[in-house]
Subunit: 514 residues, 2 copies
């Protein structure tokens, strides 16, 4: 048995035990742990990591001394004589950059478990984790410079336009179909086909998962949440059409491996509604498994293609939305907030780029506009990039480098989001018909507010008149969200006019003078 004597709060303890490797350890053997500190007792499932190695992972939510007890039939004495291993370790205070897992806060928003608000600026790189070492290094470098603090990506490889290649590894033992027959014109015929694949869907490939865990750790070090897409339909290997029993084996394995990483979010599926063979009962079944096997209650959602999943289901912690309308998308955040009373995360609002598909060819301007619209309506927008490239490497799927214009503007947006008093912005219902205005969620029902963030979208007013009350002094900043300038305009009281440049994409931030 091997483990760390000391870890930090929300860090990961990993107990490594030697056990048997004969038969099929994935289906025939179990290992479990029970972790006990002064303020919590947590039971977790472990997993077989290959080569006779079994692991149990645990994330402590409190500081102090923990004891643990490992059980299971993984040893060479088998089920008849389960042997229990025990140990003790110390949980120290978290390091400066460790704020714990992200939780829902203030109904519509997020905060780390230590209370620090989490303002999500997401991106999507579906299978960046399954690319070459060089590309992964490049992606991490890009992410480091970016404002992104959430990334959506898959455990399973992706089969789709611009995604005809093989992944670096497979989640199961076996061999794939011959992909040399694939072309840009015929790949759709192979979607969801199992013929030609020879995978043993009862035997995982631990190296595949270990590598994704390494990726999750790299993201953690960058302060980025890993929005893990556990299932998706863009598949030619058969992973999207396994039996329910196979699915459940997979889910339990994923839960046992990933749950103890503090920066994990569970995305049950990308585009759940285009799986040919899955029913709502299936999805509810996976959700039940998560609730049972993730003792840390990581965030959970499920992403649509066309029809929304019922985000009012109690296990859904936040909406993970793909736009339903080409023209209006971020503009509907208010409606979705009211309907679901949960955080609204717009995980796909079209991607910046110029590919042939309409979901992947909006301009940088339009992407940034959608971001600000979403934020000023109290939602959380997501980015992606799909520029044509000679090597068919597109950020949206492969990662690599960014070629667009929108990502450069998110640092400023994030900085403004962070200036929100309290946690999160709410749409201000009493603003003009031709503007969007956010106020602090915590002041939504207050008569007097300390903060207003106005956004004018594609409209180009040359000035705006304001009048909140006659007593309060407000400092005003004019923000060009596209050209990334922030101008201090001084302090005002009573009725006042702010001159604007008559350009699109302007915002005005109005803060009570302290």
């Amino acid at each position: 048995m091997n483990y760390k004597k000391e870890i930090e709060k929300w860090g990961m303890q990993e107990i490594t035990c030697k056990g048997v490797s004969n038969g099929n350890p994935f289906t025939e053997r179990q290992i479990r742990g029970c972790f006990q500190g002064a303020q919590e007792t947590v039971r977790v499932d472990g997993f077989y990591d290959g080569d006779g190695v079994y692991k149990v992972r645990f994330m402590p939510s409190f500081e102090g001394t923990y004891t643990f007890r490992i059980e299971g039939n993984y040893g060479d004495k088998g089920a008849a004589s389960e042997e229990a291993l025990t140990g003790t370790f110390t949980v120290t205070p978290p390091s400066d950059d460790n704020h714990g897992p992200v939780r829902v806060a203030n109904t519509y928003h997020f905060a780390y478990e230590d209370g620090k608000p989490y303002y999500s600026i997401g991106t999507t790189c579906y299978v960046w984790d399954l690319q070459s070492d060089e590309r992964i290094t490049e992606t991490l470098k890009t992410l480091k410079k970016s404002a992104f603090n959430k990334i959506r990506f898959c455990i399973f490889p992706k089969h789709y336009d611009y995604n005809l290649g093989e992944p670096r590894s497979y989640p199961y033992e076996g061999t794939p179909m011959d992909s040399s027959v694939l072309t840009k014109d015929n790949f759709q015929e192979y979607t969801g086909k199992t013929e030609g694949n020879h995978f043993d869907l009862t035997r995982f490939n631990p190296a595949h998962f270990r590598h994704i865990e390494w990726c999750v750790e790299q993201l953690q070090a960058l302060g980025i949440e890993a929005d893990l897409i556990v299932m998706h339909p863009y598949d030619r290997w058969g992973f999207s059409c396994m039996t329910r029993e196979q699915d459940h084996l997979y889910w339990k394995y994923v839960l046992a491996r990933f749950a103890a990483y503090r920066n994990i979010w569970w995305s049950l599926a990308n585009e759940y509604d285009i799986f040919e063979h899955k029913t709502i009962e299936d999805w509810e079944g996976y959700a039940k498994l998560i609730c049972e096997h993730d003792p840390y209650h990581h965030l959970r959602s499920i992403h649509n293609c066309i029809a929304f999943y019922d985000h009012s289901r109690p296990w859904v912690t936040h909406c993970s939305i793909q736009r339903q309308d080409i023209y209006k998308t971020a503009e509907l955040v208010n409606e979705w907030r009211e309907r679901y009373r949960k955080p609204v995360v717009l995980d796909e609002i079209a991607y910046e780029g110029n590919i042939q598909h309409g979901w992947g060819n909006i301009s940088g301007e339009e992407m940034v506009r959608r971001f600000w619209e979403a934020v000023c309506r109290g939602g959380y927008p997501g980015h992606g990039e799909t520029y044509m490239s000679d090597d068919d490497v597109l950020w949206w799927s492969h990662g690599g480098t960014l070629h667009g214009e929108s990502h450069k503007r998110f640092h400023l947006l994030y900085q403004i989001m962070e200036e929100t008093p309290g946690i999160g912005l709410a749409p201000y219902d009493r603003c003009g018909w031709d503007e969007v205005c956010a106020v602090p969620e915590s002041e939504k029902w207050s008569a007097i507010k300390s903060y207003y963030l106005y956004y004018y979208s594609f409209m180009r007013p040359s000035f705006r008149d304001f009048h909140f009350d006659d007593e309060t002094s407000f400092e005003v900043r004019v923000i060009d969200t596209w050209n990334m300038t922030v101008e201090d305009r001084g302090v005002y009281k009573g009725k006042f006019r702010i001159e604007l440049p008559g350009r699109p994409y302007m915002a005005v931030q109005i803060r009570k003078v302290k």
Copy 2:
């Protein structure tokens, strides 16, 4: 009596008679005419034009010899002995530029009475007609160079932001309130107020109407339809809150004066829904008057601020729509076509400019985008321009010169509209989810179509694949609607790919080779 011995078809005959000027000729005297040709007998009302002059106007719809008979109590013998005047004149074929009045054609479209399709490219200059001679000359010069073939404007002066000045004349005898008290900040308090005005609402000012008629004639010479807004609520003179009797006197006077101009359209109101004192019964009453007193059946509609009028009313010939949503506007043409089964004219889709009001500060790009969206969905968009100006002269209200970018792009759009086979474009329901496509209205239900006009709006595809059938040869043109280039891309058959530049605002025109 004075009249022309020869006029052209759809030209205007005007019978001028001397009569009494004592008392109040506007309310006490009538003059009527009956015009008879081989194919029509038309009874019309005449009107008092001041200084003892009475006029009866008539627009013939057929060629040949017409006789007429003028009656009424306008003469000095009074009602007891109405004297009838008669005469004869010849109606010649129309001149080359005279295609007759515009009619609804093909359910959703328009054509001149001679059958030539009329593709409306409208603009709005609410009170261009009530400006100085110099400005009117400038406006006409601007219109001459433009692609506009319809203009909306008012008979009554306009009181509103940027419209605090006095008109060149008033429709009634009398004097207005002292407007020196008005400022940009207080003008709204005076809207709809009658105090301080001293107008005799039973005595018209014929010079005011003669001047507007001159404007209508100038428009006619330029091939521009005069979409005459007969009532509107932006008023400080009391014209928007007259009694029903006064309103009816006004309507009959307007109908008698303007109906014989072939390029007149009746817009009952701008923003009918914000008149404080008018009910649907009032509007239906005016509509009834038009139907009774306009024997030429000019186009009739009524324009909303927020709530649409019920465009399904039988007297409404076409929808005259102001957008109801800031973001989606032209995109809703399909829906409105289906709901009303009438031509959809978008008379206000926001104006290009940079004023403080959200209805007047979109970019040229967005205006042109809305135009193409509307056209490719089988509708007719309208323009307006509201750029800040030191002299507060804004095209939208005063005319003058254009400062924007969108108007330059309408010649190309109009040229493309004119290339439509048959009359009018219909939305093609079987196009992709991320594109707009128009086909000829006349081919909407045909299995094989001869013409497709695709539009990609703000999306930026780098190519598109097409496949209509394997037999037809199509010639393809790629149109950059913003940069105004049209590229011939050759002839294609079967399945084919068209490369696009990955820029926004592109269109592809696909025509069967003849």
